[in-house]
Subunit: 311 residues, 2 copies
């Protein structure tokens, strides 16, 4: 990947995304002893950075492919992102979701124009269901995180952040499937001034931490975390980028995630997902690393159930 690929990607998706605002808080700065710049992708269209990768991956298909549609399996933000991105671009979207996915998630996908295909809640069933759509409709399967066009799209959030604050010394993102941190790492590499990239990861799903240590993709042993967006695994497209360009992964406990989440709500006045709080919790945990530094934090999304808050 080259600088030009990211620039072209940003130009391409610009009409379909928000350039989200960057918030600051003197109080939070004081608490951690650093200057924090929160890139608020919770204000992105459909409420998460995933819109960026969704739009880019569809736009990179041929007209013929676009006509036949796209398919993915996800019950999270990528399902909604692909649905809204498809709607914006006039492309059919087929979203395979487990039958036990919350109704509000299914309704959100339908609300954005996606077609929900229900399947049994097993990995095998969802892969079979997606394959069936590929075969029957000729639709293109798009992976939520292990896809170079998705990775480039996700990287544009960090590009915008660095356009506004070129002298950031760190950028921190949560780590789930690895698409966001890989894209961020590329953006920081090409557009930062020696800007390091750090990941925040729940101790409960520390596959990225262990993978960086061992040098190969490790799988999650437990997935018992409130940060439901981060339960996914790294893939062979994003892992090499993470290996090459990510400085460190900091792991945080469930309690640290909830405390950080509440602080973001109370002090930044934003509604954000537990997954976002993981990145901020990492800064709180390793204050010494970031002392007196300029630190960007990607607030990844804001799709949270207000009826089920952890505080």
């Amino acid at each position: 990947m080259e600088k030009e690929d990211l620039l072209a990607c940003h130009q391409r998706i610009k009409p379909f995304i928000h350039n989200t605002p960057v918030l600051t808080s003197q109080l939070l700065n004081g608490m951690v002893g650093a200057s924090l710049f929160f890139k608020c992708e919770n204000f992105q269209k459909m409420g998460a950075f995933k819109m960026r990768g969704g739009v880019n991956s569809i736009m990179q298909l041929t007209k013929e492919e676009q006509k036949r549609g796209v398919v993915t399996h996800s019950s999270g933000n990528f399902a909604q992102a692909l649905s809204l991105a498809s709607k914006s671009l006039g492309v059919p979207a087929y979203i395979v979701m487990p039958s036990n996915a919350p109704n509000v998630k299914k309704e959100a996908v339908k609300g954005y124009g996606g077609q929900v295909i229900e399947c049994e809640p097993t990995l095998e069933a969802r892969e079979l269901a997606a394959e069936k759509i590929v075969n029957e409709k000729g639709a293109t399967f798009l992976h939520p995180s292990n896809d170079m066009d998705v990775i480039l799209g996700q990287g544009t959030a960090c590009m915008e952040l660095l356009e506004e604050h070129p002298d950031l010394e760190y950028v921190i993102t949560p780590v789930g499937g690895g698409g966001l941190i890989a894209g961020t790492a590329l953006a920081a590499h090409f557009f930062g001034q020696n800007c390091k990239v750090v990941g925040g990861e729940p101790l409960e799903v520390d596959d990225a931490y262990r993978s960086l240590k061992s040098g190969k993709i490790e799988t999650n042993i437990t997935t018992n975390t409130i940060a439901d967006g981060l339960k996914t695994q790294l893939g062979d497209q994003n892992f090499p980028i993470i290996q090459k360009h990510v400085d460190e992964i900091i792991r945080v406990t469930e309690e640290e995630i909830v405390t950080a989440m509440r602080l973001l709500w109370e002090r930044l006045k934003i509604v954000c997902e537990p997954s976002c709080a993981v990145a901020f919790a990492a800064v709180q945990k390793e204050k010494n690393t970031f002392l007196n530094k300029k630190v960007g934090i990607i607030i990844s999304g804001g799709n949270v159930d207000l009826g089920n808050l952890p505080f």
Copy 2:
């Protein structure tokens, strides 16, 4: 008041305030059939637009007056605003608060450097306590809303909104003591292109609605509203401006306020007070007035107790 007074005020306070972001939501636009532009003063320093008027009113004092300090009685956002504004400007701030005010409010004032003076929870007691500070310390009393310098300061939020979106056809604010809507009305008059100003007010505290009808300042009969920032009364400084420049006051029920508040949290992904939701609820209620119009909405503040949400 002239255009130049507002321009000078904005220049004066700029170093001490945030130019807050303006958010949009296609989904909310679709729901009301208008183009909405939310000016997010919940992201203002200390979490509310009151910072603007607080800073301006202190900066308009002489050096001698500033040295002797400022005093107000408030248990709401103006208490915190005056405390932080005073701290930013190196001025002592004395805040008279009723002894039964929530501890979190007293702590917030102290956290921003204000000196809390407790009094019995009666109007008489708080006025006496404030008078005592004026006499003993030579401090200047500043009113939260019925003060021309405060009004001008609050108007700068609408100025910034119109700088970004000059062609707004309406701007809507909640109405409490009248400082925000009066300042907004002046800003819209001087900087808008035929931009109308509308107020949202809880039915439970509809003094502004009734005052506009009768032509004189009416008092509230009940104050039984969740929008605790709006229980205050209009004053003789702001009422004439409201009479002259405000188009209409729309009243909303408590249920409409809570529904609107939840929508703002869920869809805009922002933490905002019930008082802010009153302005958005007014647009939802009188959809026909705003159909296909460009409408600015001032989100007034975000200081809300997460442990005590109405949903």
